[in-house]
């Protein structure tokens, strides 16, 4: 088990994980109410990935996927900005043009959530290239799922990053399923981290449910990248509690699997550690949860009242114009 973070950090992370969880639950509700159109992909159960974000330094950047709400919130995207984007409002993170699958916020280093599996990996390679060319002390991070490790861009991105020893961390969130397919149906290796060998880069299997372990391993990988040691492939073993998207009820789940994973819920794990260390009690936890709930509900109400973009926005930003 990783060394304990200091109490303030633990509180911050716990609070943020709660916000992510509650935001995602409400996003599901908004989808069912048709206030969010199209699709949503929730990261409930995978909040331990916040440990990676907490290991970042100013100037570091992220590319991620449609299942990126947690990364965005962990990085500091305001819940309001996210909820407005979810509803396609002008004050959303992407002025309503992106939606649930494309939560992007350059001001916090979130360079884009992508809806094409694997496409975000080479883009992060490009960010890392900038840091190397300009000799900046930044690191690029790219999140992706275990299913994405079977697509060509994964391979090309890891190879290019390894050849150039770029400052980048490839972070696979292995949540056991790609859409409705269990990993073993589509992937001949048990650990995606094994694939690092093909690029002569370190590959590390990480307990994705323990946010402090995640943080510790991410720190090592980020430090390696920052100090010229090149890329790392991290694999966070985790689990998504909800279906793949929309109204998927995940009938394909192995029986009992969800229950097993619930026992190692990332929020609970940290909570219990803090209680054991006398850093938290149930009342305080409830208050925290209450505050997070309030934050999320306020953001939703606010976003509902926000305006849609004007129709002229349709033709804006296809190109940059002087």
């Amino acid at each position: 088990m990783a060394q304990a973070l200091e109490v303030g950090t633990r509180q911050d992370i716990l609070r943020r994980m709660l916000e992510i969880r509650i935001a995602e639950e409400q996003i599901q509700n908004l989808f069912l109410q048709n206030l969010i159109r199209g699709t949503t992909h929730l990261c409930i159960g995978q909040e331990g990935s916040a440990g990676v974000i907490w290991a970042m330094q100013k100037g570091d950047t992220v590319t991620c996927t449609y299942r990126g709400h947690g990364h965005a919130l962990a990085m500091g995207m305001p819940v309001k900005s996210m909820m407005a984007e979810m509803m396609g409002k002008q004050s959303g993170a992407c002025q309503g043009k992106g939606g649930s699958m494309h939560m992007t916020d350059a001001t916090i280093g979130l360079l884009g959530a992508n809806a094409i599996v694997g496409a975000q990996l080479p883009i992060a390679v490009g960010a890392a290239l900038t840091y190397q060319v300009k000799k900046l002390p930044h690191v690029a991070i790219s999140f992706f799922g275990e299913g994405a490790s079977n697509i060509g861009t994964f391979h090309e991105a890891l190879n290019m990053a390894a050849v150039w020893k770029l400052p980048i961390v490839f972070c696979c969130e292995n949540n056991r399923y790609g859409e409705y397919s269990a990993q073993d149906k589509t992937t001949p290796v048990a650990d995606i981290a094994t694939r690092a060998i093909a690029y002569n880069m370190p590959g590390v299997v990480v307990d994705g449910q323990d946010v402090e372990t995640v943080h510790a391993e991410a720190l090592i990988a980020l430090e390696r990248a920052r100090s010229g040691g090149g890329p790392t492939l991290l694999e966070l073993k985790t689990y998504r509690y909800r279906g793949h998207s929309r109204t998927d009820t995940a009938p394909y789940r192995v029986a009992g699997e969800l229950d097993e994973w619930l026992k190692r819920d990332p929020i609970n794990l940290l909570k219990e550690k803090m209680i054991a260390a006398n850093q938290l009690d149930e009342t305080e936890f409830d208050e925290m949860k209450q505050a997070a709930t309030q934050l999320v509900f306020d953001a939703i109400e606010w976003a509902k009242a926000e305006a849609y973009p004007p129709l002229e926005a349709l033709y804006k930003d296809v190109y940059y114009e002087e």
């Binding site: 159109r37 992106g98 809806a115 697509i151 859409e179 349709l314």
Partner: protein, 325 residues
């Protein structure tokens, strides 16, 4: 007659072909055990088994490449690309491989493969999950492309595509999956390359497919009340193109409007306009107008998405303009 949805028609076509020819196989991401992301193909895995109906890894290039390799060695594969927006992911296999394999080998191979993909804007899937693929595919000699707009066509064209000894893209429209109609029980595999006149009229020809075809028919009803008699051609097959049906109509109406659910530049509609300006130039009595997305993209925001895809009133207004022009 059996009442069925467009979705059911696709599945029935697949089932009938899998049943009638053991060389037909079907694969794609989550098409087998789960029955497809759009729930189009449930039951096929159960009926035809894991050997012939397969889930694949997320590997679009390998999916299309494997379909090609299977096609030239004796199978008749049907591959699904899920969202048509993923067509570009496999574009080399499409442009440089399946389209050219027969030609550059000097005719050594037949390439009987079908690729299915779901396209079109359908309520908020955003910039990367709402596109139509025709205009990306029609510039590639060596492949055929069909875009069914009704359950009957979805059934007949898919069966025709699977039986065709050439690579065929069957682009299904996400927004039509729930559309239902009576499909004649004796519907045969359809020949590719035939347009159909969905509504006869004498004043102006509208060429469209799929959702735009249905919206054009709605516009035609509105305009009928204004005394404008609109002929609506459903192209159905984008490649090959049924030039005769289009020209015959223009010869009659002397006016042409093309409705595309895609950007303007190098869209398939340009070819129809080009045909009119060439072989039909002496008939034209008004500007040939295209109703399409212009040169912009599909945004997630509901009012923006609703605006960018041509709607009934925009189509109707353009037809009025052409009647005035």
């Amino acid at each position: 007659m059996t009442k069925m949805t467009y979705r059911e028609a696709v599945c029935k076509a697949l089932a009938d072909e899998l049943r009638s020819d053991e060389n037909v196989i079907f694969f794609g991401e989550d098409v087998a055990v789960a029955g497809g992301v759009f729930k189009v193909t449930p039951g096929l895995y159960e009926e035809f088994g894991a050997n012939r109906v397969r889930d694949t890894p997320i590997s679009e290039q390998a999916i299309i490449g494997a379909a090609l390799g299977a096609a030239i060695t004796g199978l008749r594969p049907v591959a699904e690309l899920m969202f048509a927006d993923f067509v570009p992911v496999a574009m080399d296999q499409i442009v440089n491989q399946i389209a050219k394999y027969r030609y550059m080998s000097g005719g050594q191979f037949v390439v009987p493969l079908t690729v299915r993909a779901a396209q079109g804007s359908a309520n908020g899937f955003g910039t990367q999950h709402s596109q139509c693929a025709e205009s990306w595919l029609v510039n590639i000699p060596g492949i055929k492309v069909v875009s069914p707009g009704t359950p009957t066509d979805a059934y007949g064209l898919l069966r025709g595509a699977i039986r065709e000894n050439n690579p065929v893209f069957v682009l299904e429209h996400k927004g039509l999956y729930n559309l239902s109609e009576d499909v004649p029980d004796d519907t045969e595999p359809m020949e590719l390359g035939k347009a159909v006149v969905r509504r006869t009229g004498k004043d102006v020809t509208v060429v469209a497919i799929q959702l735009m075809m249905h919206r054009s028919l709605e516009a035609a009803e509105i305009l009928a009340k204004e005394g404008i008699d609109v002929e609506v051609i459903d192209l159905r097959s984008m490649a090959p193109l049924d030039k005769a049906t289009i020209l015959k109509s223009i010869a009659k109406t002397n006016r042409l409007v093309i409705v595309e659910e895609s950007p303007h530049s190098a869209g398939w509609g340009g070819d129809i306009a080009s045909l009119a300006a060439d072989e039909g130039v002496y008939w034209l009595e008004a500007p040939v107008k295209r109703v399409n997305m212009g040169n912009t993209l599909i945004a997630y925001s509901p009012p923006l998405e609703d605006e960018v895809i041509p709607n009934v009133s925009r189509i109707a207004q353009t037809i009025r303009d052409v009647m005035a022009g």
